[in-house]
């Protein structure tokens, strides 16, 4: 019995020694991941859809972005394309690679390059933009583009979501492009070029990762751009029925 107690006493003394050496111990510096900026990544297809127009045109369309980075700096790849199913050709194909930094509580600035490689002539632009959340919950993405030949244009993209329930969500989108100079080769006239408005009703089926939707999209060309389209024998206005899914992972 006493033997056990002595052992206990020894261990107690040992622990006294132990706890006093604490101060002698070096206080380590934090090199764990917690002390590093948190990096995150994400991929979102806001649109991944099949479009059927009022004059029987069929399109496969996507509008997606992927990001990687910290709160202070993100790299973002934005890709959007319209593929004409019958003609097996890209009507539009844009890829942007931008760096993104916060400039205010709700907005980021972006700078980078945009490559357009549709059927027909290619273009490369420098991109400068802002993206963020405007008052009243409008998601806004506004960009300025300057091509190698000095053609400049601006594009604004806005989205608003209406929650019928927390799973049935109607999203309204507006995309408008203005050109400050003509680029006839790719059918862009000076002034308001085009708008695309869309209404999509989605249902969040798997978290926010997979949300099928149906909707309507209206595309219209204006002014000189419309004239250029007409001269080419094309239309200036299209209505589409769309079916697709919003995807995030």
């Amino acid at each position: 019995m006493s033997c056990i107690r002595s052992l206990a006493a020894v261990s107690f003394l040992a622990s006294i020694g132990f706890s006093t050496t604490v101060i002698a111990q070096e206080m380590i510096s934090d090199t764990t991941a917690r002390k590093q900026p948190l990096t995150a990544w994400g991929v979102q297809f806001e649109e991944f859809e099949y479009r059927y127009s009022d004059d029987d045109e069929e399109l496969g369309v996507w509008n997606a972005d992927a990001f990687y980075g910290t709160d202070e700096f993100k790299v973002r790849l934005l890709t959007t394309g319209e593929y004409e199913i019958e003609e097996q050709a890209y009507e539009t194909l844009e890829n942007q690679l931008v760096g993104q930094i916060p400039i205010s509580k709700f907005f980021d600035a972006k700078a980078g390059v945009r490559f357009d490689t549709p059927e027909g002539p290619d273009r490369t632009y420098a991109v400068l933009g802002v993206a963020g959340l405007a008052p009243q919950w409008f998601e806004v993405d506004a960009n300025l583009y300057a091509s190698k030949d000095g053609d400049t244009s601006a594009e604004i993209d806005a989205e608003y979501e209406l929650l019928f329930t927390n799973y049935w969500i109607l999203s309204a989108t507006l995309d408008a492009t203005v050109a400050f100079s003509e680029d006839e080769e790719i059918g862009v006239g000076k002034g308001l070029v085009s708008t695309e408005t869309g209404l999509r009703l989605r249902y969040d089926l798997i978290d926010r990762a997979f949300s099928p939707y149906v909707g309507v999209v209206h595309e219209r060309k204006y002014g000189d751009t419309a004239d250029l389209a007409k001269a080419e024998g094309g239309g200036t206005e299209d209505w589409f029925a769309v079916i697709g899914a919003r995807i995030a992972f």
């Binding site: 261990s11 050496t21 101060i23 709160d71 929650l163 019928f164």
Partner: protein
């Protein structure tokens, strides 16, 4: 004879001596079955939650922790007073425990009560790496009970912690399914009128803040002792017995409102420290807090332990019954909580100048005394000029409950709607008991036996709790942990921490290694806690006797807020001279050996 003398001597020495207990824990990959889903997780000794570690006050414990994971791990003994290098925070206490390695924790147990332990590495804790600690006191307890159960709550989510963090960074409302809908707009219109509802929506839309932003993380299954609502953990009792329930909230993100319909609960302990008993019908348990309550079911029937999440997006359920298999009715979830403009009161740079004025009034109320013991001199410190400058057009757009917050009469007396000095006046988060009875407030907590002499703090440190929901960034004084310098304290000082919550979320602030004496206005009877919950739009004070040298973590205990930067290192400079002197000797001894 000799032996006898020796034994006698040892017996005399007994009070100063202690038994050393040796314990083992393995950190393992485990399967977690909630009844709603099965997922891979992390546990201890092959299960999540891990075992209940039972220690004795005065004992020296030795705990061998073996890491069977393929990644680093750690165990933090939440609420335990111990040498800092045993505190288990990688990068602050120690480097962590490598895969395959066994680390031996060794420290004296200097306290009693209910605590818990969890991993402090990555998101292992939300992934399941937690367990309970029960410490038996050396002396008698000031309350009696015949039986005791640990009731450990958590919010088990089907997604891994890493994925949740990434999703929140990608879409901060990823998990919020209680957002305001078109339907709610129309029901608000019929209740408050069209213009008022439109103005309300515009005011919130202008701030880009959501009234529904009460719980970042929804879609969890509430567990009690690892069991989901359908698996129904059951504690057996004999009618007439006093049962001590040791509630521990080990959630990653979820506050729970706990009640046992049909039973009064007597709160006897908070965060491991005895409090003067308070009878309540319901209480809110913040993340990482513990409350011990005593219940005395007299009837031969089952009782449901019902723990609704603060935002009402989920619940945990268990049963107390005379026999296994008995069940009582499970209540419905109450309506989802909504923030009000009062909860936004702490926001700086808000367009509504009026709010700042309101805020000052509330803060004085919330931070000093309880409603009953309110010092009217505080009212004098209110900035009346701001009140006059209120924009009444904005006011109309706000909830009527906010209006009462503007009213001087109700400010003083707390009339009109539920009130609690630890919530902003007119807050949408003020809890009420489901049966209309008593809901525990922080202001009800009074220490049973103060640990420290009451004295004037030597200085005050202001910590503004800051963040941006839309970016899912969380910080202290606007600075994330990655960019922050440590908070330096001096051994022997008594620091008064002033928490100013400038966000719309509730933050359970946890200082490691030293007690947090929560200022409820009770002077020397202020309760002693390890986790202090700070509600939106409020200021809360706590004092800390800086009596442990070393370096410590200090953070919001919401897992994803801490990881996003609401975290600090605290360095205690200096130490007791005797210890410092001894240190030298011990170091020399060590050198010779």
């Amino acid at each position: 004879m000799k032996i006898r003398v020796l034994t006698g001597l040892l017996t005399l020495l007994m009070p100063a001596m202690v038994m050393a207990g040796e314990y083992g824990l393995t950190v393992d990959r485990v399967k977690i079955d909630t009844g709603d889903f099965v997922k891979e997780g992390i546990g201890y000794n092959g299960a999540s939650p891990g075992p209940v570690m039972r220690f004795k006050e005065g004992e020296n414990v030795k705990i061998n922790v073996t890491n069977n994971l393929d990644e680093m791990t750690s165990i933090h003994w939440h609420g335990l007073i111990l040498p800092f290098d045993q505190d288990g925070v990688p990068g602050i206490s120690f480097p962590g425990i490598k895969p395959g390695e066994t680390f031996t924790y060794e420290f004296p147990i200097q306290q009693a009560g209910t605590y818990w332990f969890h991993s402090h590495s990555g998101f292992q804790e939300p992934d399941g790496a937690y367990g309970a600690i029960v410490i038996e006191p050396e002396g008698r307890e000031p309350f009696r009970y015949d039986r005791e159960y640990v009731v450990q709550l958590t919010d088990k989510h089907p997604h891994s912690g890493d994925r949740i963090m990434r999703n929140l960074k990608m879409m901060p409302d990823y998990y919020n399914r209680e957002q305001q809908t078109v339907g709610e707009f129309f029901s608000d219109v019929s209740e408050n009128g069209l213009m008022s509802t439109v103005r309300d929506r515009m005011a919130w839309g202008d701030m880009r803040m959501m009234k529904a932003d009460v719980e970042d993380l929804q879609g969890f299954t509430g567990l009690i002792n690892g069991k989901g609502p359908d698996q129904n953990w059951t504690g057996i009792f004999e009618p007439g017995e006093r049962i001590r329930l040791r509630f521990i909230n080990s959630s990653a993100m979820t506050y729970f409102d706990v009640r046992i319909p049909g039973l009064d609960m007597t709160v006897v302990q908070a965060d491991g420290n005895n409090v003067q008993p308070v009878n309540v019908d319901e209480f809110r348990i913040g993340v990482a807090e513990t409350y011990d309550v005593i219940v005395r079911p007299k009837d031969e029937q089952a009782y449901t332990i019902f723990a609704e999440s603060m935002g009402r997006s989920g619940y945990a359920r268990a049963t107390l019954a005379p026999e296994e298999g008995m069940e009582a009715a499970v209540p419905q979830l109450r309506e989802a909580a909504r923030l009000t403009m009062a909860d936004m009161g702490g926001m700086p740079g808000m367009d509504h100048g009026s709010m700042a004025g309101m805020d000052h009034g509330n803060m004085d109320m919330g931070s000093s005394e309880g409603v009953s013991g309110m010092d009217h001199s505080n009212m004098g410190s209110m900035d009346h000029s701001n009140m006059k400058g209120m924009d009444h057009s904005n006011m109309k757009g706000m909830d009527h409950s906010d209006m009462s917050g503007m009213d001087h009469g109700s400010m003083a007396m707390g009339k009109g709607g539920p009130s609690d000095p630890f919530y902003a006046k007119g807050s949408g988060l003020v809890p009420t008991a489901a049966n209309g009875g008593k809901f525990l407030s922080y202001s009800d907590l009074k220490a049973q036996d103060p640990l420290y002499e009451d004295r004037e703090p030597t200085r005050e440190i202001e910590l503004r709790l800051t963040g941006n929901m839309e970016r899912y960034t969380w910080s202290i004084n606007g600075v994330k942990y990655e960019d922050a310098d440590p908070i330096r304290l001096k051994y022997g000082e008594r620091v008064r921490f002033k928490f100013v919550n400038e966000t719309m979320m509730t933050h359970p602030m946890h200082l490691h290694g030293m007690w947090s004496i929560l200022d409820v206005g009770a002077g020397q009877w202020n309760p002693i806690k390890h986790t202090v919950s700070v509600n939106p739009g409020t200021t809360v004070y706590m004092e800390t006797e800086v009596d442990e040298p070393g370096q410590w973590a200090f953070h919001c205990h919401l897992s994803y807020h801490a990881a996003a930067g609401m975290f600090r290192k605290v360095i205690v400079e200096g130490g007791p001279e005797s210890t410092q002197a001894k240190t030298g000797v011990v170091a020399e001894d060590g050198g010779e050996a």
